[in-house]
């Protein structure tokens, strides 16, 4: 899932300071699960904004809405009537949702209320960790299902750097050294051979370096 975190209230208030009637647009997808952008988060943010604006002596009207997903046209095109009367849209979706809205409603400015962080999953209640960097050329097959691109601060492909200590990363003592985990996993799977060959320089063309990437599913093309 995509994990996102709400921007500080001050920043959000500043970004909508020119408007007195906005739509606050949530999303029922990933950001609902990570508590930052679903219907409940929208409810909370709306009351915080209203309270703050009341204190400033300048009320704001907020139309709340939280479609099943904000990142597909079919879920947001039905909102045309709700969007028309507002001055701007404040979105608590990930960056993808914000951009889908921006394209669907080009006459209105869509403002992000979240910082989109990463692709990951909850490792415990209310704690998410990054797991995939979307590099476009998956290495999990030989790393025992643990990604060094997303989880190693140096994206190393040939084992841990000299800063791996007691299973932790030198960059953050709270973070596991993914190479220690890979080593342990492959050892228990009796597959340490995976680590003996020199892994050649990665071809980053599949990653974000070549500009916007596209995925085309030929069989389903109309």
């Amino acid at each position: 899932m995509i994990v996102a975190d709400r921007k500080p209230l001050e920043e959000i208030l500043n970004s909508i300071k020119d408007y007195d009637k906005i739509m606050l647009m949530g999303c029922g997808g990933c950001v609902t699960i990570c508590f930052s952008g679903g219907a409940k988060a929208v409810e909370l943010l709306a009351s915080q904004i209203k309270m703050a604006r009341k204190k400033q002596g300048r009320d704001i009207e907020i139309v709340q809405c939280s479609p099943e997903r904000q990142c597909e046209y079919e879920f947001i095109e039905a909102l045309k009537k709700d969007v028309e009367p507002v001055e701007a849209i404040l979105s608590t979706a990930c960056g993808v949702g914000v951009q889908t809205m921006a394209v669907q409603y080009p006459e209105k400015l869509t403002i992000p209320a979240l910082n989109t962080k990463f692709m990951g999953y909850p490792v415990e209640h209310a704690l998410w960790e990054e797991k995939c960097a979307g590099c476009g050329d998956c290495v999990l097959e030989w790393t025992g299902g643990l990604c060094p691109i997303a989880r190693c601060a140096k994206k190393l492909l040939n084992g841990p750097c000299g800063g791996s200590s007691d299973g932790k990363c030198e960059v953050d003592a709270e973070t596991d050294c993914v190479w220690q985990l890979i080593y342990d996993r492959l050892k228990s799977l009796n597959k340490l051979d995976n680590l003996t060959a020199v892994r050649e320089a990665k071809d980053w063309r599949t990653s974000t370096n070549a500009g916007q990437r596209k995925v085309k599913f030929e069989e389903a093309m109309l």
Binding site: K154, L156, N158, S164, S165, D166, E170, K202
Partner: protein, 306 residues
């Protein structure tokens, strides 16, 4: 000869090699290199010129290496993967070789978090093993990483790598060393050894795997002037093994500087007797003047003629 460097000649001749570290300044003054260089001219087989170590901006290692050459030193230019992609690295490798650099040390590089520009975007297009392989490909196959031919004047470099016998996972450290050798490392310099027993255990594994016959291993050593330096490294630097007895001994010393030198000399003696060790690499952080004194007292001067 792969490079014809002095370091290569000394090691190949079976002599116990000595290198020392020289950190470039945080400014554009060539004099500070020249001043530090005077401690090492004629006393060591090579000087490592660090590449923005601990991610603090300094004069470039290749620029400083060129100055070191003008002072009569043979540089080991360090190159880290943190700041440059494969295009810039290959370009700098050509530039370094053109300036007369004959040794290169390939490292991943300290993370920018530890330096004075933690906001920087790191690169790590290659990792250290891939960098080693790239330098070897340029030298031996006369090809760029892309496969394009280097039609003439390929860079002839003696390829170094580092290994930290004290980092985890301990058993993987030997495997990683083997990978660096397979990739093309000619010599290895280790992280500072303070825990000689652990280093000896690592060397046992290295010798058992026959790796000492495929690569020259130089043990890293740092003479310290006070117990505070040791305590700092123990607490703040990841992947260091510093025995408490050593800290206690430095604390108890009446003349800590002298004791620091004595400890280092004792370590040199022990390390020389460990099978598979081909030399030492001195890293007297901010105390370059001690290098010739130590080497004299360790009986490592004069350096052999090669």
């Amino acid at each position: 000869m792969k490079s014809g460097s002095r370091l290569e000649k000394v090691l190949t001749a079976g002599e116990f090699a000595v290198t020392a570290e020289l950190g470039p300044p945080q400014n554009a003054n060539p004099e500070s290199i020249k001043k530090k260089a005077q401690h090492s001219v004629g006393k060591v087989d090579g000087v490592n010129i660090t590449d923005n170590q601990t991610a603090i901006v300094r004069m470039s290692s290749i620029g400083a290496a060129a100055i070191a050459i003008s002072c009569g030193l043979e540089p080991v230019a360090q190159m880290v993967c943190r700041d440059r992609n494969r295009i810039a690295m290959q370009s700098d490798i050509l530039g370094a070789a053109a300036l007369g650099v004959k040794n290169i040390l390939c490292l991943s590089g300290d993370h920018q978090k530890f330096g004075n520009h933690p906001q920087a975007k790191n690169v790590f297009d290659l990792d250290s093993v891939q960098l080693i392989a790239m330098v070897k490909k340029m030298r031996d196959d006369k090809q760029f990483l892309s496969g394009d031919a280097i039609k003439e004047h390929e860079p002839r470099l003696f390829i170094g790598a580092v290994e930290n016998p004290f980092a985890d996972p301990f058993e993987f450290r030997v495997l990683r060393l083997a990978k660096k050798i397979e990739a093309g490392a000619d010599f290895i310099q280790t992280q500072c050894v303070f825990d000689v027993d652990k280093f000896a255990r690592w060397m046992e594994l290295v010798v058992k795997a026959g790796l000492h016959e495929k690569v020259f291993i130089m043990a890293g050593l740092t003479p310290v002037r006070s117990h505070r330096a040791l305590t700092y490294m123990k607490n703040e630097v990841a992947g260091m093994s510093i025995p408490d007895e050593l800290i206690e001994r430095m604390k108890a010393a009446e003349e800590p500087k002298e004791e620091g030198v004595n400890i280092c000399l004792e370590m040199i003696e022990k390390i020389r007797n460990i099978e598979g060790v081909a030399g030492i690499h001195l890293m007297p952080i901010g105390w370059e003047s001690i290098t010739p004194v130590m080497l004299e007292r360790a009986g490592l001067l004069p350096r052999p003629e090669v």
